[in-house]
Symmetry: C2
Subunit: 159 residues, 2 copies
C-alpha cells in the first residue's frame, strides 16, 4: 500500500474540556456518534499504519474476501461510497496488485472483483490486528457493554 494514505490524525494529548456545559451535546446521539467515529478512525490509522490500510480499504478487502466476484456497484452501495469514488480506490488497489477485475461472462458490462494472493495476505494480516484494536477502542466498556453497543448499532442499521 502507498504510504500517503497514512494520516496523522488529531493530536491525542488534548484533555477533555473542563468547566464547560456540554449537557446538550452529550444528549445528542448524532454528535456523540461523530465523536465515536473519529475516535475509531484515528485509532485505526495508528494501528494499521504499518500495513497501509485505511478504514475504506479494510472494508473493501473484507467484502471482496467474503464475497468473491462482487461487482463494484454492490460494493459501493454497501459501503456507502459513490461509484466513481470507489472506482478510483479500486484502480489503485488493482495497479498495486491487491485485487483483480474480471469481466462477467454472463453480462459483459459487469465486473467481478477478486483478491489476488497478495491482497488476501494483506487483509489476513489486517484481520489479526482487528481484535486488539477493537479491544483498545472499547476499553472503557465492559465486555457485556461492548456486545450491547454492537448489537444496538446493528439494529439501528438494517444492512
Amino acid at each position: 500500500m502507498s504510504s500517503k494514505t497514512v494520516r496523522p490524525g488529531l493530536k491525542s494529548d488534548q484533555q477533555p474540556e473542563k468547566s464547560l456545559d456540554l449537557r446538550a451535546l452529550r444528549r445528542t446521539p448524532g454528535f456523540m456518534l461523530r465523536l465515536a467515529q473519529l475516535k475509531f478512525f484515528e485509532g485505526f490509522y495508528e494501528e494499521f499504519a504499518a500495513l497501509g490500510l485505511t478504514p475504506a480499504t479494510y472494508a473493501i478487502f473484507a467484502v471482496i474476501r467474503d464475497n468473491p466476484g462482487v461487482p463494484p456497484s454492490s460494493l459501493a452501495s454497501l459501503l456507502r461510497l459513490r461509484l466513481p469514488n470507489l472506482i478510483k480506490i479500486l484502480n489503485e488497489l488493482e495497479s498495486s496488485g491487491f485485487i483483480k477485475r474480471n469481466r462477467s461472462k454472463a453480462d459483459r458490462r459487469a465486473v467481478e472483483l477478486m483478491l489476488t494472493p497478495k491482497g488476501a495476505k494483506l487483509i489476513a494480516e489486517g484481520a489479526r490486528l482487528t481484535e486488539p484494536y477493537n479491544e483498545k477502542m472499547l476499553a472503557l466498556l465492559s465486555a457485556a457493554e461492548q456486545r450491547t453497543l454492537l448489537e444496538l448499532l446493528n439494529r439501528l442499521l438494517p444492512l
Copy 2:
C-alpha cells in the same frame, strides 16, 4: 443561513444489499459507527435544511448558547475541529449576524463568543426540531434501548 450549506446526501432509495456475506463488517464497531453517523447526518440535512443548519453549526450554536464567552480554541478542541477551519465558519456566522466576537478585557488576545438575538432565535428554532429528529433516527430502537445507546456512547467518550 446560506442555502449552499444544504447538501443532497445519498439517495435513500437503495435497499440493503441482499445475499452478501456482511458478517465481518457487522462485527466491526468502527464500520457500524460510520454507517450510523452517515444516517444521522443525512437525516439532519433533510430535517434542518429549512433552517440552513448543519451538524457543525448546530453544535457551535449549542455550545455558545450554553457557554457564552467561550473562546474559539475551546470550541475547536471540544468539537474536534481544527482552529483554522472553525475560524472560517465563525467568520460566516458573524458576517451573517448570528454570533458576535468580543475581545477579552483580561487578555486582549482572547476572543469571547456570544450569540446575537438572531443567533439565539435560530438555535431555539433548531432545538425544537431536535426531539422529533432524534426520535425518527432512533425509531428502530425501543425507548430503553435508545437510552442505553446514548449512555454507552457517553461512557465511551470521556468528554
